[in-house]
Symmetry: C2
Subunit: 453 residues, 2 copies
Amino acid sequence: MADALARLQDALGERVDTHAASLEEARADRSGFRSDGPPLAVVHAESVADVQTVLRIAHETRTPVVTRGAGTGLAGAANAGPGEIALSVRRMTRILEISPNDLLAVVEPGILNDDLGAALAPHGLWWAPDPASRAISTVGGNIATGAGGLLCAKYGVVRDAVLGLDVVLADGRLIRTGHRSVKGVTGYDLTSLLIGSEGTLGVVVGATLKLRRLVPGDVCTLSAFFPSVRAAARASAAVTAAGAQPAIMELLDAAAVAAISALLRVAEAAPGSAQLTIQTDGPGARAEAEAIARVLRDAGGEVAMTDDADEGERLLAFRRAMHPAMAALGTSLIEDVSVPRSRLPEMFDEIARVEREHGVVVPTVAHAGDGNLHPNFVFDGDEVPAHVWAAADDLFRSALRLGGTLTGEHGVGLLKRRWLADELGDDQWRLQRDIARVFDPRGILNPGKVFAP
Amino acid sequence: MADALARLQDALGERVDTHAASLEEARADRSGFRSDGPPLAVVHAESVADVQTVLRIAHETRTPVVTRGAGTGLAGAANAGPGEIALSVRRMTRILEISPNDLLAVVEPGILNDDLGAALAPHGLWWAPDPASRAISTVGGNIATGAGGLLCAKYGVVRDAVLGLDVVLADGRLIRTGHRSVKGVTGYDLTSLLIGSEGTLGVVVGATLKLRRLVPGDVCTLSAFFPSVRAAARASAAVTAAGAQPAIMELLDAAAVAAISALLRVAEAAPGSAQLTIQTDGPGARAEAEAIARVLRDAGGEVAMTDDADEGERLLAFRRAMHPAMAALGTSLIEDVSVPRSRLPEMFDEIARVEREHGVVVPTVAHAGDGNLHPNFVFDGDEVPAHVWAAADDLFRSALRLGGTLTGEHGVGLLKRRWLADELGDDQWRLQRDIARVFDPRGILNPGKVFAP
């Protein structure tokens, strides 16, 4: 280990950071997990060559490498501990190419989502993945976790928006996966395999992103309150069943509505009320919003609707206050299960059951259009209490029973590794772990994450 | 081998077919390649259990297995030869589930694309992948090759339209990959890895397909003739640059136009003319078609346009006559390179150069919206002559130089295995082959395909 650090310092000079504050920061992301102690060093890579140097030294000295972007992950995958190198690509923020004609951009991984968006807008372009954290999270982090966001039902997830990757392998070699064309089936789709691999297969040092043209027309925003979360969930199902395709459809359950109302000091809706926030876009935004408003009213909703941008932001602000409202209640374990959207009402019944049986409070926001729920297990203190883990375990199993998945967009990391085999089955779990060994025969890439040791 | 055949017959009875005509048929697909001799047997699997039985016996006896659907592939990947089991899943045609609310269907692999389409239409649903062969090709074949089709620029490729797979592994075990929800990042994306793996990683026995609602509104069809292929290619680039998103945009070069005109006995356009066929759909189809017509006329095109379905079919019939027109000229080696769409004019220059320098005729149709070209190397006789291979080699290298890929949608199979490492690089080629070994340690799954022996 001392050898690895000395060699890193020798090769990379001041880019090897051993300040106590830097090491401390690298121990955690935003999952609530924290490693057992500080890593060897944080290396601030500034180029592909820097990353290759780190991996070569790590490979030769068998030193674990934990790759990090902005550290906003919610599963603990980027947490670095004793004896590990924290490899930060946060300084690699260049946009190498924007091609409006081919609707693609080539970028380094450390660029923030919002900064990319700002650079693309003057070209009339955007990159669809839209995590709620876009102001603070990186494109590379999106790719490493296979992140989703609010717009996925209409505009797809990260996998739908990446054409190719430049990847440094465990021993420092560089490969290029994928292509620059819309189609391409030469060999296996390693691009998709690497997306969501959480630092266990290689280090993404460049990405060829598939862009969209900015959507013309207005945006219409609707807000609707319902007497119960089940009624709101049924209304959201009715919206999709009616063939509407909103850009955004967010559902807040009663506990979430109450917490946000308290935070924003707005008059609370009737106790037990749940809420939907919906946006439509494109040339038919207004007609679609009006059709949706009818569906929501038929389903018992109290509906407000606007095509004014400021008023729309005001309606959306209620939804955006979810995280601060949770922070005001205590510490949260933010969950991320996903179910087929038709099972959303049943999943909310399951959440209510888990609350009752485990004596926990679980305010929940859902991306209702795609069936992805974020139940927030709120508790006091820093450490997740045992009874909260038991409740979360119960919730995960409920989601799997309903044909759902453990994680829609946050990833496995540390948080869900102990449930991974429950979803994959033992045969697929072993197959996946064996694939990881092909990429990383010495086991130095983010060991202990995703696959339980 | 005798042992393998006897055990198959013992376990599967009459589903093990050793008729000479069946064995002969299993030697070839539609690539022009044919194996050295008949396989051991064709097994007509009728269930997942049948497939598992075949793989268990094959694994224990180390007998190669070549999985087949309808045999319409264009790269030789499904050709079975001496000592190999041809495993046909063509009889597994059931639709197990159609869920309009979750926009998904669960199907067996042997169902024809058109039969699936016919079953989905009454629900107001469709599965977007639309290979030109849809009347005769299977969904499983689409998945095995990662097929594309005419609608990909607007509606995506197979990878965008599959949520999960049921896969029998090399030793007969069954795994389920993916999920039933829009989002899901639990573990690695084996679904994408298996799509386009051409029978080398496992046998797809079931697929959970992501559906779309039928597009409302009319379809408008445009046909435009241009004085040269370069002019037509520039016009197609101008259409996408204008922000239009046609459902179909097909380009025929001058040799293709001449051959089709001769076949259909229509008055030929001026010598050297190239042609674009474009369709728009959705609520804004007519307005979009009118905007496209203006772009095409500005680019020097002679434009016909209609929103009448029959007249639209008549315009599209010209494009659909491409394959019969090629068959009338001789035997074709059908190529499948793809380039970033902005490089389409340069790629046509390269095709003209290849024709000049190698003394070959290469009528070409392109899916212009996504940069995928199908140059047809026409020759006499059954065997591809050496000078045609040399010309194809030159063409492949041109596509790679232009930032393109060897195969947009047909796959590698036998046809392109010798160029695979040129595109992937040696490091990635070896990595991919090592991944195949994890799935198939005994090397019984379609040996000799994709990765050159």
